[in-house]
Assembly symmetry: C2
Homo-oligomer: 217 residues x 2
């Protein structure tokens, strides 16, 4: 693994965090000079980081004007979650006939750790294990390109999924759905896995209200 990171990449990551954590409002201009000062570097690596932000969709660039924060609105979020649901469904469909026994065991073990985290009220662990559960399915597709695309979207939606999972009763229900997904994969039933994953990820019913509510917090 190439864990080496150039400074620009590190700055880009930090900037993403800043944009996520609400330090910036939608439409804010990302001032190169101020950012350079606050990171104690020159404008060059800042500009590199800004470009990355733009290309990954967190910001928008207007030539000769600057880079502006683009936080997704309710409609954007719905669209992104719907897309995620479809991609997860595709992963399930493919993984059903390809995932290895080790992969299936890993899914069960991860679910167990998820359950334990819920019992302990340990949200951080739950989030991490939940993420890993889905990543294991991506891996199960035996399609590294699709796996990477799925991870990219998962990462992009991460901050919003957290706000969703906070709500009462959501975690146990989510776990029940995980069981269903694993069962479908064990049976090699691609269509069932696809359906279960699509419904699991999709934002519908009360989840919709919750997502909207979380935006005005």
């Amino acid at each position: 693994m190439e864990t080496e990171l150039t400074r620009g990449e590190k700055i880009a990551e930090t900037l993403e965090q800043l944009v996520f954590s609400g330090d910036y409002k939608d439409g804010d201009r990302l001032d190169e000079i101020k950012l350079a000062e606050s990171f104690a570097v020159s404008r060059t690596p800042i500009r590199e980081a800004l470009q990355r932000l733009v290309l990954s969709g967190f910001a928008e660039q207007i030539p000769r004007r600057g880079v502006f924060v683009r936080l997704p609105g309710p409609v954007d979020l719905m669209e992104m979650f719907e897309t995620m649901a479809e991609i997860e469904a595709a992963c399930g469909r493919l993984a059903a006939s390809r995932i290895s026994d080790e992969g299936l065991e890993l899914l069960e073990a991860t679910n167990t750790r998820c359950q334990e985290a819920i019992a302990r009220q340990d949200r951080e662990t739950y989030y991490a294990e939940n993420e890993f559960f889905h990543q294991t399915i991506y891996r199960g597709t035996a399609n590294s390109f699709l796996e990477k695309e799925a991870r990219r979207l998962q990462n992009r939606l991460k901050p919003y999924r957290r706000t969703q999972l906070r709500f009462r009763g959501r975690m146990p229900q989510s776990m029940a759905e995980h069981e269903q997904i694993v069962a479908a994969l064990q049976n090699g039933d691609g269509e069932a896995a696809a359906r279960a994953l699509r419904d699991h990820v999709a934002v519908q019913g009360e989840k919709f209200q919750q997502l909207i509510a979380s935006l005005n917090g």
Copy 2:
């Protein structure tokens, strides 16, 4: 529409073309200085363009070493086409219940122009109309995020789809599949549309041999 392009973006596009058109072999280092000279600019916009190439997957960056061309091999291509097939299937599923009457008419009109292009042996037009046919389905999802993702992948695979469609008998068969897809969308049958699109895009059977063969041409 913001049609304004900064120089770096234009250079990035040109570089993509160069990488596509086979001017570079897999693994070639993209020399900043030489590129700067050949484009008659400084290294700064070149580096900007290289970053874009890396982030869109056409090249790989190794810190302190440089940027290297990464042409997809047979396995990468299979993975990408499989992913495209799944995404198109998802688009079909969603579009079946959302596409407008205008959209459906547009699909039929595009198919007609496709047929005419085949009759005329006009490949360029056929390629363009075929592309537009699929984009109309993306649009039909009424999900601009998914639409953008689909277009991104379509664009990435464009040069390889062309080599595929060259083969004898492929174009008429492809047209028949288009008819099937439109029919499914007209009936609002999401699952049928998904299946038809998945099979239409998927690389299977003899198409596989052809794709492999095209790589050694």
